[in-house]
Amino acid sequence: MAATFFGEVVKAPCRAGTEDEEEEEEGRRETPEDREVRQQLARKREVRLLRRQTKTSLEVSLLEKYPCSKFIIAIGNNAVAFLSSFVMNSGVWEEAGCAKLWNEWCRTADTTHLSSTEAFCGFYHLKSNPSVFLCQCSCYVAEDQQYQWLEKVFGSCPRKNMQITILTCRHVTDYKTLESTGSLPSPFLKALKTQNFKDPACCPLLEQPNIVHDLPAAVLSYCQVWKIPAILYLCYTDVMKLDLITVEAFKPILSTRSLKGLVKNIPQSTEILKKLMTTNEIQSNIYT
């Protein structure tokens, strides 16, 4: 234990081991009630991948059922808005399925009927070219659910002949640099790619000691382990809610090989984006 200047007591980690180890051993034995509660919680937090029409669970992983050559994943509301207005608008996309999951970040306690207007995770493929796959994930996938999500989407033995592109955002104050955050040109794009991704990125690579977090990190690690070419485009922004300038910061990606050919009408996309912004504005009087 250690005390700080302000009187708060902070438990310091002790590498020597605690003195009362025996007592802890007893407390660690699981009762049947504990087991039951643990299993219930595991069931509640299960990631379910559902088919589009029937809403029944898929027996195999998503990419085993729908093999693809190009997989674009948008995680977070700004990345999702970018794909909605620029990519999904230029072509006919069909929903292949959706992922339903619950964790403490969800606003509802009801695990079975998560409404579609709330945070969601949908999968789509291009009708004219079903080997192009897209995922829009605006819900938070907790650490214990990430592996399940990966297994249900990629499967335990994924194909290597596909290219993955991940888009996500992070607050600029997470960006570790010698400059002060006030002088950074946010929003700005950084990229991180797996060893097998040979194409050039359209922006500078993410420097050390910056790291990637949450689901994007899980997907990238998975791709690195399975030698799948994948690239993550991370947009550092100072506005985490849906924002026009943050979404437009993803535009350089439209010229890369991953998205080339998928976007046709850019001015119309910008109009759709503006409409998305106005419909999603949340009223708050705290900041003016």
Binding site: F6, L244, I245, T278, E281, N285, Y287, T288
Partner: protein, 250 residues
């Protein structure tokens, strides 16, 4: 490291940061954009109007406030903090007038606001004000002034500046376009402010509010129609410039 030195305002971190002040500057970025331009005979303040809830009275959501007849300010950041600062500044303006029988200079009232903000970065149990302000006006000598203050309590004079969300983008636009020609006439200065805001405002002219002070004249708030007229003129000029460009290239 930040987590151990960012709870109390009165504690420096080992590398000299006052984290609470820096976090207050993040709060400023959550407010909508405000831009200030100092012309030759005019000072202009333009703000991005926040969208108001349907049942809310629009008049109570004001980003541009008069501090005295010849000084006004726009802020970005926490609304409640701004209200407190504005009230104190207004009282100080009148107190100064009664004591010294002269209206405040723009620099004086800016220094007052900045000193107030600095006090709150050095007091125990208080947090800094989460607002940045753009203060404009004319002094008795007839010179136009534009000052900017931030939560740390610093203030500087500017020719043109922006605060709030996307301030950096607007400032870069101003750095490129603030020329002697651009502020040659009052109308040009007003158009420059509107053009700067249009870079970042999401739905165009109807979300812009504008205020100007001309030498020896009181503050004038533009109506939505007047702003719309300027926006139409700007768009027309843009089209003409593009036509000329395409003609030249042909």
């Amino acid at each position: 490291m930040a987590s151990r030195y960012d709870r109390a305002i009165t504690v420096f971190s080992p590398d000299g940061h006052l984290f609470q002040v820096e976090y207050a500057q993040e709060a400023v970025k959550k407010g909508s954009t405000a831009v200030g331009i100092r012309g030759t005979n005019i000072v202009v303040l333009g703000v991005e109007k926040k969208s108001v809830a349907k049942l809310q009275d629009e008049r109570t959501v004001r980003k541009i406030c008069a501090l005295d007849d010849h000084v006004c300010m726009a802020f970005a950041g926490l609304t409640a903090d701004a209200r407190v600062v504005i009230n104190r500044a207004r009282v100080e303006c009148q107190s100064h007038k009664l004591t010294v029988e002269d209206p405040v200079t723009v620099e004086y009232i800016t220094r007052f606001i900045a000193t107030l903000k600095q006090k709150y970065t050095q007091s125990n149990g208080r947090r800094p004000f989460g607002i940045s302000a753009l203060i404009v006006g004319f002094d008795d000598d007839g010179i136009p002034r534009l000052y900017q203050t931030d939560p740390s309590g610093t203030y500087h004079a500017w020719k043109a500046n922006a605060i709030g969300r996307s301030a950096k983008t607007v400032r870069e636009f101003l750095e490129k376009n603030y020329t002697e020609d651009a502020i040659a006439s009052d109308n040009e200065a007003i158009k420059l402010a509107i053009k700067a805001l249009l870079e970042v405002v999401q739905s165009g002219g109807k979300n812009i509010e504008l205020a100007i002070i001309r030498r020896n004249q009181p503050l004038k708030m533009f109506s939505a129609k007047e702003v719309e007229l300027y926006v139409t003129e700007i768009e027309r000029e843009k089209e003409e410039a593009e036509k000329k460009k395409s003609k030249k290239s042909v």
